[in-house]
Symmetry: C2
Subunit: 323 residues, 2 copies
Amino acid sequence: VAELELIRAVERALRARGGRVLAGPGDDAAVVRARPIAVTSIDTIVEGVHFELSTHAFSDVGHKALATALSDLAAMGVEPGEAYAALVLQPELETDRALELVGGMEQLAERTGVTIAGGDVVNGPVLTVSVTVTGWAEREEEIVRRDGARPDDLVGVSGPLGGSGAGLELLRGARVELPEAVWEALLARHRRPEPRLAAGQTLAAAGVSAMIDLSDGVAADASHLAERSGVELGIDLAAVPLAAGVAEVAAAVGADPLRFAATAGDDYELLFTVPPERAEAVEAAAGSAGSEAVWLGRAAAGGGATFRDAAGRAVALAGYEHA
Amino acid sequence: VAELELIRAVERALRARGGRVLAGPGDDAAVVRARPIAVTSIDTIVEGVHFELSTHAFSDVGHKALATALSDLAAMGVEPGEAYAALVLQPELETDRALELVGGMEQLAERTGVTIAGGDVVNGPVLTVSVTVTGWAEREEEIVRRDGARPDDLVGVSGPLGGSGAGLELLRGARVELPEAVWEALLARHRRPEPRLAAGQTLAAAGVSAMIDLSDGVAADASHLAERSGVELGIDLAAVPLAAGVAEVAAAVGADPLRFAATAGDDYELLFTVPPERAEAVEAAAGSAGSEAVWLGRAAAGGGATFRDAAGRAVALAGYEHA
């Protein structure tokens, strides 16, 4: 692409929101009116590793890059503010395709009240998108970290799992009979993951003690949270809520549905811990944000995450990375 | 690389500075105590496009990725705060090489008072590093943008040009006799560009009206500044200060030294405009930061940048991109 021409077209495609941005794209850096606490994360997706252009439109790629970054802010319970996007584009890529990518990002930004306030466009051999997002809070205490889980806390998840992994298996050609709406929902779940920003903020306000977004799957991410908190998270696999169609797709590819849902990843639901006395408030908060609070187990003294099947037997889950 | 193992090793290699960082790497996002104005930029470098592993050590790559991002903050005149680094690494890359890259970045961070507060490590086929940097200011008025140049302002540059381009030509095999110290300085200039952070802050305080960092070369970057400010910048090529050895290297590759210095780019000096009555103060400010203020010309009504040779003839400069 012609970098300068594209940069101008991108600038025209972007809108500022929320009144914080004093200078957006077009200068050496963006200038933003801050609030007292900044919460920042950077995330990168690479063609052939995190998505395939044979199954993802350019607008899906833009959506996914911003969504995965925003999901980190959801897990901190903060309001998102600005995004900064670095695009590595193949020299032969048409400007219109690059603008579709930016359009997919801008559409999600609009829906979530985010301003894409800056970026970088460079040539390179492999389509790569890095997105940095900053969210804002008034006080440090509003922010939920990974390290706050305590023994006896309940472990909850904000919604059904396995949908993104099932969508990927469908794209890879899994043969299964499903109602068309279920099929489409699984593909959408994979191509356009939804950051649980509203749920993250209401769960934080309702007093969850620790939170993490499910990018790698419950198996891996519960371990990360357990390790940071210095507790053991005991998770009952039979309690894992399955997205519609996941059982059928897992069966079609010869996998156990619950193991599949716990390890396939990319669902971007939130995993959280809650002191038992706040469980009801957290259920109400999740519901008010259009999510759920499904209880998977409990924290105990110890370390790491352990998984039990319906018969109470320990199950070893290797974090199967599917892209 | 094994992502998780590397991430832990990276976390151990990083230090927090300045007391702003409340939670660094290890959570979903970093938590930082903000100041009233946030200034943020993202920059990406790609192997084979912005650097070559045949001529750059991994530590050079880390340095360069952070340096080019910090240079944008230098051009805004703000104090740098935090950096967030996304690394795309080949799966077969050894952890030690990745840590050398992070080490080069951390060394520059230490020297400039920056905290690398977060990041992302993913696998991919081409070594790519995206760095987002945030700097802070108390008031919007402290920040220097590209759009403040006015007719009659003087145009200045903070130091000699062409050094990085000459270093690249030496790496590409240009045959020229040079004292070893000059040769080494040119290579260092290319491999380890230095963001002019101190100069940017003192120049801003001394009242420059607009500023931009010279990543693409005076020819291209003066045009960007002129366009944003709505003025014409008239630049006298004969006034462009040459880094030691640039004249010899340019001659060896059959280029006019001044044209070479104006177009080769990657010098990361600062180009700025100054109302004439502040010129002396700006010269003193640049000197106090170990830089210079070399006057290249003057702004006038109109638009774009124009270049004249020593005889006063107009010279057309096509921004020759050498990387």
